[in-house]
Amino acid sequence: MSLLSVRNLRTRFATDRGDVRAVNGVSFDLAEGEILGLVGESGSGKSVTALSIMRLVPEPPGHVAADSLAFDGRELLALSEAEMREERGSSMAMIFQDPMRSLNPVLTIGRQILEVLRRHQKLDGAAARKRAIELLEMVGIPSADKRLSAYPHQFSGGMRQRVMIAIALSCNPRLLIADEATTALDVTIQAQIIDLVKRLTRERGTSVIWISHDLGVVAGLCDRVNVMYAGNVVESGPIRELFHRPGHGYTLGLMGSTPRVDGTGARRLTPIEGMPPNLIDPIELCPFLPRCRVAVAACRAQPPARRDLDMGHWATCFADLPT
């Protein structure tokens, strides 16, 4: 059974000029222990999808609806805010993009870890401190016992993100959502953090949703990828199949615009021309159509439909892409 099951998730934001459909009918399943990548350019709805699952979208102006948003068999949208608070940080946790700003600058690292332990595990005193040290050691922070009384500004960006991971994993969540967790870090640190997340979540069987616009990171970490465009999943598949045989014009475009170090010979990057569509206006046809290089006649005639390409690999695209 899947840990998280999302069916037709729709998140809108009310603005003066109309509703922005930031997420427009996203459906996917996340299995126990699976690492799912969520890729797409800025504004494609990756983060809003994550925030909607955590029920952290500010309402109003936001509004989250879904046919089903089931986590471990419970409908999240039916939970009260207080019940939801019990889940956040304990069974589902999230880490954010900016490790420089995700920790409160005026509280010690120790205090910020203890706060979560106290809140969710009712740990206090020496036991909680012992656990906090274990957590910091787990994420590879040297002399963790002394570091408890340090402040965030005394840590580097990579170390802060390690602390955030330690806090997020402190209560052994079943789902970890990482929203661009390594984007603000330099490449070597990025690789360390990815290894860390991979190791820790594999050890515990934690399911992960890894949001990134970096295809390389996703390729190295995830089991499966959802490619998002204009608030919808346009292609989904196991990592190998999707990279070897992209099934959507947008995925193709993303891959063409990503630099590779292991590519064969010199290759020019080809940017995707144009801009993403305005999410206020209703979109009937494929939202990527105006920018697509491989569009066929069917794309202009009817709304896109899901097409299975392989085992567990599908795309909402009419074009037959070269393999």
């Binding site: 999230m94 995700s102 600058p105 509280l107 706060e115 809140r119 020496a126 016992d145 408890l148 500004h153």
Partner: protein
Amino acid sequence: MADARTLPFQFRGSLVLAARQFPRNRAATVGFVVLLLICLAAALAPWIAPYDPIQIKLAMKLKPPSLEHWMGTDHFGRDVFSRMLYGGRTSLSVGLLVVGFAFAAGVPLGLLSGYFGGKLDNLLMRLVDAFLTFPPLLLAVALVGLLGPDIKNVMLALGLVQAPILARMVRGSTLAVREDAYVMAARALGASPLRIVLSHLLRNMVSPIVVQLTVVFSAAVVAEASLSFLGFGTQPPEPSWGRDMSEARRFLGDAPWMFLAPTGIIAICVLSINFMGDGLRDALDPRAWRTRRSVAAEENGA
């Protein structure tokens, strides 16, 4: 707690660390000690004052500072030093109580308004606007006029004048701080709104609040003087720094000590409070902390 020492690591609360930091700021420490001494002197006035602050001795009027009256005497022959000691009781309690009132009323209102926003924010801020449209002193005069001239009413009125200013400022800070990434991170970890407001928002707004409160204290002491001068507040012959200062105005040429004593004390108090506020602000902000080494380097460099 016995086991705190035996724990194999060092872990100290933020406030303990802050308390350690405070004495490293020399000006703040001096300010704190001076203020403490002045408060003590005022509190112990009945025991340490050499003369009765009210009894009139016309034979001794307008005597310059001497060994017997080391701040001189006023136009009724009363000992200025004794009057300063007793006057401190009025002035300091006005200052401290107004600060307390402004804090207790202004900070929660500002936090509420800024954090929850929407209709509540609109309502509260229009109310604040209404208060802020009046010139502060005029509003205080009107309120005291309404409530009757009494020192308690003066405190209440000055508190009511200062609280909206603080509320507006706290709201502004809340709006800025609540957008910080760590607030969202805390929510993602299951923190309740109360926890977010108290341990995340408030802790990050200490600097502007402390600075504003030092301003409130100074303003309150001076405003009490103005109100007493206008006949509200402290009634003669009761001493208060502000009252005595305005009284001394008439004898500025003949007996400048009458004027210098209260103004000097008010100035020292306000200065001490400002230094203390600076120190408090830095001590509560770990990013501004100085190590012993950096303090030493700074002093050698200067």
